[in-house]
Every structure is written in C-alpha cells, then in structure tokens.
C-alpha cells in the first residue's frame, strides 16, 4: 500500500481533508506534527493548506524555520514526491523548494471559489496522463498571487516548470480566468526534477461527486499509480 505522510504545522487545516481524500484512492496516510516529522519509509509527502503560524510575516515564512521543513528538503532531494497545496505551495516557495513567491491577491481579498486550471506537464507523479487536461478545482486563499523576478520567471517558463495555469472554460489563458493576479496566470509549479509540485487550488476538495467535482481525485490517483512504478531506490 502507498504510504503518504501529511505534514501538520501549527495552523494547518487541510490535513484531515487530505487524509479523507487519500483514503478514497486507497492510500495509507499518517498526519505528522511538525516537530516529529521523519519521512523515512513514506512514499510521498503532502504539505496541506491552512494558515501555518497564522500567515504572520508572510504565508509560509515561519513554517520554513520548522524542523519539518529540513526533513522535507531531505526527502525531496532524495527524489521523494512532494505535493504542496495552498499554504503548502507557499511553504514550498518560502523553503526554496520551488522558485518565486506568493503575495497578496491583487484584489486584496481572500477568495473562495471554483477555478479552472490547465495542466501543462504529465511528467510529475501527480499529473500522469493529465497533460492539457483542464481541471475544475476550488481555491481558498488570500495570498495566491504568484510573482518572480524577470530572470527567474524566464527560467521557469523556459524550463517548463509551470505545471498549472488559470484558464477559462475553453482552456484558454485569459485575464478574467486569473483569480489573484498571478504572473502569466501561474497556478502551480514543479521543480526541475519533477518530484516537487505546488499549486494554489485544493485537489482534496474535489475528490467526490457530492462535493461538486472529482478532478482532484485524478491527481491523487496519479500519485498512487506513479508510486507503484517508482524505482525502489526512491521508495
């Protein structure tokens, strides 16, 4: 069975949502308190959404100093699959596991809504078979505006690190489809190796028909499939 660690920082709130969603794809999960994180023996790690440390200083900034982040970096460097959603994405950026930063939404308000994102790369454990798929997912964030300096942005685009972009119903990148002012409509990224993925939307909130959608389930199913075929070394 696939074993997935779900990290919990003070103020994290999507950990139980992920636990439930991952149970739907048959994964075995464990929620780990941030001071007690040992990822050896796990096949993947999730950094869920929430307001770690109340989002004080910057979203994800204080979590970066936690021992969990050190262990997460080790796990990622060893090739372990890591998914950060919402506050988890912010933490991955703050920790330097993904490039750029997430600042206050251009409208200054928290936004809870459904968006569409287009997947640009199937080469990560979370997006197998999803290239060019348009996924409908909920967002819930106040600091989801992705920014990067021009050089970094150029590198991100050139190396194909953009994993998801906000798009309209036809799958086209438009200003109206962008909920938070993110540069180039960037909704999610991967690292160079492809094992670390971050996105602002919440796949765990759309894993059952009764919640209005199942596109998030496709990412979690991808993980379970990918882990099953991963080289033993990494696992």
């Amino acid at each position: 069975m696939v074993r997935v660690a779900i990290l919990r920082f003070p103020g994290t709130w999507s950990e139980r949502d992920f636990e439930h969603a991952l149970s739907l794809v048959g994964a075995d999960t464990e929620i780990l308190w941030h001071t007690e994180v040992d990822l050896s023996g796990f096949d993947a790690a999730i950094v869920p959404g929430g307001f770690s440390y109340g989002d004080h200083v910057r979203a994800g900034a204080i979590a970066r100093l936690s021992p969990a982040t050190t262990e997460l970096k080790r796990f990622a460097a060893d090739g372990g699959p890591v998914l950060g959603s919402c506050n988890g994405f912010q933490i991955l950026c703050e920790a330097g596991l993904l490039p750029g930063a997430l600042i206050r939404n251009s409208g200054l308000e928290y936004i809870s809504d459904w968006v569409r994102i287009r997947c640009e790369d199937a080469g990560t454990p979370f997006t197998e078979g999803l290239k060019d798929a348009v996924l409908r997912m909920p967002i819930g964030h106040g600091e989801g505006c992705f920014v990067a300096d021009p050089a970094t942005l150029e590198r991100i685009e050139k190396e194909g690190l953009v994993l998801f972009r906000y798009v309209d119903g036809r799958g086209i990148v438009t200003g109206d489809a962008n909920p938070n002012g993110s540069v180039n409509n960037i909704a999610g990224l991967r690292n160079e190796a492809g094992n670390v993925v971050g996105l602002m939307p919440h796949p765990e909130r759309c894993a059952e028909p009764i919640l209005g959608g199942t596109d998030g389930l496709r990412m979690l199913e991808s993980l379970v499939r990918a882990v099953g075929t991963m080289p033993a070394l990494v696992r």
């Binding site: 200083v57 910057r58 900034a61 204080i62 970066r64 100093l65 950026c93 703050e94 490039p99 750029g100 930063a101 600042i103 206050r104 939404n105 251009s106 409208g107 200054l108 505006c145 920014v147 990067a148 300096d149 021009p150 970094t152 002012g181």
Partner: protein, 82 residues
C-alpha cells in the same frame, strides 16, 4: 546588553504591491496630489546581545532568515540600545 532593532521590510521595486496600489486609489479620492505609494512593514525587536557588533549580526539574521523574503523584499536595520 539590551537592544532594540527596527527592521524595515519593503517589496523590491520590481515586485507588485497590490496594497500600495489600493492605497493610491483611495488617497486619490482625498484629492491630496498623491502620485505613488509603496507599503512596507516594520518589526521592532527587543533582544539581548553582548555588544553592538553582535547585535547587528543578530538583527541581520532576523531580517534574512525570517522577516524578509529575498525573492521579493529588501530590508534595512536600525539599531539602538534599549
């Protein structure tokens, strides 16, 4: 010795400042001839250090490790003894 460091954090010039933009819009309506607005944070930290040099180093660490994100922000330290 006890020191007070005021650490000023500002978004880099090339990074968007949505809050500053909003304030610019709002101040515009007050008719005060405002042409530009940038927003920043200041964090006033009271702390113990052996001497001035140690205090400055400590304040720099605070700025670098936590208070400012080098990807988008710059910071500046003002140091005083308490």
């Amino acid at each position: 010795m006890r020191f007070v460091a005021t650490i000023h954090v500002r978004p880099k010039a090339e990074v968007r400042d949505p809050q500053g933009e909003a304030i610019l819009g709002a101040l515009g309506s007050l008719g005060l001839g405002v042409v530009a607005v940038r927003t920043g944070k200041e964090i006033v930290v009271t702390f113990e250090a052996d001497d001035d040099a140690a205090a400055r180093t400590a304040a720099d660490v605070m700025g670098r490790e936590l208070l400012a994100n080098p990807v988008i922000e710059d910071f500046r330290v003002e140091l005083a003894t308490a």
